[in-house]
Amino acid sequence: MAHPLPTRERPAGPAGPPPRVRRVSPAQRASAIARLVTAAVVGLVMMFPLYWMITIAFSPSADVVSRELQLWPSAWTLDNFRTIFGTFPAATWFGNSVVVTAIITVLTVSVNLLAGYAFAKLDFRGKGFVFLLVLSTMMVPVQVLMVAQFRLVTELGIYGTFWAVIFPSAASAFGIFLARQFIIAIPDELLEAARMDGAGTVRIFLQIILPLCKPLIAVLVLLTVMYQWNDFAWPLIALKDAQLFTLPIGLLYLQGQYGADYGAIMALALLSITPIVIMFLAFQKYFVQGLARSGIR
């Protein structure tokens, strides 16, 4: 294999360490190749399940159940997609996922922005305590609450409806922390100036904070959409009617009906991950920033 790096180096000179121009020794070149090979192998391993899912989704069922090793479908077919759209309400599930995710995202991002502003820029009694309380909820696993939340939505008479999925999911402190960190960095002088001009708290929020928060809103929306689109445990408990299933629950239902006919299952899995993968590829920078910022405190 040819050397992949731009080769601008000469043989390592006998002189001491050169101050500016870095020379590439054979050892460094070997290490660069080793790094590239490692990265390529890791990349292939990480991609293989996805590649395989796509392959199986477009393979005829004979290929899927075959015991022969075959890394490429014998024929590309849309049969599996016909099955999920014809026999199963895949389109309805897709629509349900869109609706539920959209409502939860709008609701949770709005209330998180409001709360983040309060924690960042308003002073009130017990702020530290309330903030701690809110943050602590981020660590409560859904499985701890599932029995009582199930009881609650049953008592409220919304069990089995979208509202049963939406409200408990929107009750998340996930974005508050991110919002606070972002808004706290907005200079106080800016808010002071607005206050001098007679703007109230609400106006300051709407006309100064929100416009400055566009990158924050992008991050919050992306992370919330990703989380809600993929959420499985709670919708599994809150929904019962197959017509109201979201895609993850539809996938499980399909697996229950079809067992090991992986073709149809992979077709639906592919359908279910496509929007999120496209979104991720388009807005990768924001995704990664958001995740990284949640890590660096």
Partner: protein
């Protein structure tokens, strides 16, 4: 609501502020005079979120405690039985097996995802052609739903038609009983978990690495430190805060692993991959012993709480500064 809050804000404008814990959050003394009059506005801004959290998080949390002290009857719970559910936990071999599996899963996946995440972050932080592409490939599994990744795992690890056993067969090797033997099933779950999880660890470590000054490495190189020495004595200590954060996040994630196991093995074969969370779900929504499920949930919560407390203590000092 908005008009109301701003009106209240005006009316209490000149009141002197009482000292409060919030003082730790505001370094500038000049802002203190505004604290009192913001309280009304703060209630308006926090209200919607606190109401949601109160009804759908705090209330169920308290309720879960109550249910765990009751006995299950059909769909509901009735009659106080005190610590009976917890007493039953202690003598339930499936509970202990699930707790042990949870611990084993955590002890295996956390160090592996930390090590792999750091290794990949160092690799992706170095001079590497196409590293943007490679980074993307490593993040990608992270954005895919737990159920889709688990189903991919089912597809790959199927004993008869799965690609992994096909490859082993093709290579003249013995196939692995991924679905019928406990250890192999456990291993398949760990492999899928690492596949999903490594990207997150890498993101956090990359952010940590980018905060390290390159001069430190320059100095180390001048003093003749090898790559390994630079990694061991510079990189590892300097990404300490990231490691700490990831340790907590990964432990909590491992404690709450659900989708992967639920879909890939359902806790089987036998009880070999049952964890606390799948066992709680099984009790709550399959056998409908909801009080017992609530008790298991409380145990998970208490363990998680310990880790949260550690994280809070570790991060509090930095949080108040930043």
């Amino acid at each position: 609501m908005s008009a109301d809050t701003s009106a209240r804000e005006e009316s209490t404008g000149s009141t002197a502020p009482p000292p409060s814990p919030a003082a730790t959050y505001t370094a500038q003394p000049g802002r203190a005079s505004r604290r009192q009059r913001s309280t009304g506005a703060a209630a308006g801004f926090l209200g919607p979120n606190l109401i949601l959290l109160g009804i759908f998080l705090f209330l169920p949390l308290g309720w879960a405690f109550l249910i765990s002290f009751q006995e299950s009857s059909g769909f509901g719970a009735s009659g106080w039985v005190g610590l009976e559910n917890y007493r039953r936990l202690v003598t339930d071999p499936t509970f202990w097996q699930s707790a042990l599996n949870t611990a084993a899963f955590t002890l295996i996946t956390v160090p592996l995802s930390l090590a792999l995440g750091l290794g990949l972050a160092v690799l992706m932080n170095s001079v590497l052609p196409g590293r943007k592409l490679f980074r993307t490939l490593i993040y990608l599994p992270m954005v895919i739903s737990g159920i889709a990744t688990a189903l991919m795992g089912v597809l790959l690890f199927d004993e008869a038609t799965g690609i992994i056993n096909k490859l082993l067969r093709e290579g003249g090797l013995a196939t692995v009983p991924w679905q019928s033997q406990g250890t192999a099933a456990f291993a398949s779950i760990i492999l899928v978990t690492l596949w999903i999880r490594v990207g997150f660890n890498m993101v956090i470590y990359l952010a940590g690495l980018q905060g390290i000054s390159p001069e430190l490495y320059e100095a180390a190189r001048l003093e003749g430190a090898s790559s390994w020495q630079q990694f061991r004595y510079l990189t590892v200590p300097l990404v300490g805060p990231s490691t700490f954060f990831l340790l907590i996040m990964d432990v909590i994630y491992s404690f709450q692993v659900f989708d992967t196991i639920f879909v890939m093995t359902g806790g089987g074969p036998g009880r070999s991959t049952s964890v606390l969370v799948t066992y709680a779900y099984e009790n709550g929504f399959v056998t409908r012993d909801q009080s017992y499920a609530a008790a298991i949930g409380i145990v998970i919560f208490l363990v998680t709480l310990v880790f949260t407390a550690i994280q809070w203590r570790g991060n509090r000092s930095r949080d108040t500064v930043g």
